[in-house]
Subunit: 272 residues, 2 copies
């Protein structure tokens, strides 16, 4: 008998064991572990249960099986914790694009035909000069709406002498109308699970560009310190010694050690 | 010795007796009354006092002198109370435009080049077909920003086969950048004290199109009932008998009577 669960958007859908297993495997859980977790979780799911609750159960089980996989499974929430100011998300997106071969410049003020614009990220690759607008949401169910895509398009039009195209990056999903307009008006959209090929989490996962905000030891204060110090990626933390970490982040030796260990646990054992 | 007061925006400015007097007279206070109120209020102003506090003191005094003038002085807050859904503000703006000779249609869904758009108000006058976007703010210090003007411009572009121009209406102020972009990109802006000639409150005051939300007896529930019943203007209420009011708004006879009296007190004695 199929059970319906409640998504973040408020809509209902049938609970799918396959879908849950797939997301666990994608996060790096062994197939056997993933199957066992799904079995455990499935037994406790009831009609109308919220995705959030199911996610938390799976997360708890996954953490027991693989700490590293659990951290990566938490990417969606890690990206949310980059808020609230939003500036950290812009910086993070710039890092991700840089690791994918773009040249990036942050927070440029550029004169357009009508007015000056504050451009989150100016990226270039080959002949393309790309106006990148970042839209950070703190709630998973908040979609990036058409209004934002429209406004990026008008900004591109005003800056058409400087940029050849525009890209809108968000940590959540796009509304159907936003997608429709974006592809018609020539604004590239990059978000959670969008587009099918080369979504934001794909860009992150394939190059292990996970943000420090997925660390379980990173509370808002520590995330803030990392952002200030320009340490947005686990990779950046990995490159530093415990002593350097301690000094750059003003952490106790114990906390620096814990951070370093957690980062190694997630990144360490894998070929990069 | 000049005293500095704190504006809604958080900025400071020198308190001006003339400015306060001017706003009271504009609301309909007799010149003598206005002067007397300013004297009373000025004595109690201290360095750094907030505009909001001064406004409340003036309002209290004005109410004693002229109930009708006090209600109109409250227009800015009356417009804010049309929220929070924003839909009431769209309806209200449509009414104001209609009384100024526009033909208006509310909440049209219109197919553009790329996507369908929900258009708040489609207005026309002569050869002009105007896409009207309404932006309601519940806090007086929230400005209408350039992002909104950009997005209206892109919407107009997508709907350029249907509309000849765009207008953005807000109940607060526009940022300097929004004004700069709007006038360059051809989006008409209409807001609080903007433009100098023909601002939103000018359109309202000159034709006595005050909203029901300026009534002191109108709590959020009553405002909601009025909106549902399509009674957005005091003029609409004036046109009904106490009995009609009672039935249309599901009010007690006593409340209907009180509403009717208050409306008469504001509109009644004046030539329209």
């Amino acid at each position: 008998m199929p059970v319906r669960i409640k998504k973040y958007s408020g809509e209902f859908e049938e609970f799918s064991e396959e879908k849950l297993e797939c997301s666990l495997v994608r996060a790096g859980a062994q197939e056997g572990d993933a199957k066992a977790i799904v079995q455990k979780v499935a037994r406790r799911i009831s009609e109308g249960m919220e995705t959030r609750v199911i996610y938390r159960m799976a997360m708890r089980e996954l953490r027991r099986a693989s700490f590293a996989a659990a951290a990566r499974y938490d990417l969606k929430f890690g990206l949310m914790r980059l808020g609230p100011a939003g500036y950290a998300f812009e910086k993070y997106v710039a890092h991700v694009l840089k690791h994918h071969g773009y040249e990036v410049k942050l927070n440029q003020v550029i004169r357009g035909r009508c007015v000056e614009h504050e451009v989150d990220v100016a990226a270039s690759k080959g002949d393309e000069r790309i106006l990148v607008e970042c839209k950070h949401h703190e709630k998973p169910w908040v979609q990036c709406r058409i209004q934002t895509v429209l406004y990026v398009k008008a900004r591109l039009d005003d800056l058409s002498q400087v940029f050849t195209k525009a890209m809108l990056v968000t940590n959540t999903k796009f509304s159907q109308q936003a997608i429709e307009y974006g592809s018609c008006a020539g604004v590239d959209l990059l978000g959670w699970r969008y587009p099918d090929q080369g979504s934001l989490e794909w860009l992150i996962d394939t190059k292990k560009l996970w943000p420090v905000s997925i660390l379980t030891m990173a509370d808002p204060r520590i995330i803030g310190l990392c952002i200030e110090a320009g340490l947005l990626l686990l990779r950046d933390v990995q490159a530093l010694s415990v002593e350097e970490l301690r000094v750059r982040l003003h952490l106790s030796r114990q906390k620096a050690l814990r951070m370093k260990r957690e980062v190694e646990e997630i990144l360490g054992g894998e070929a990069s």
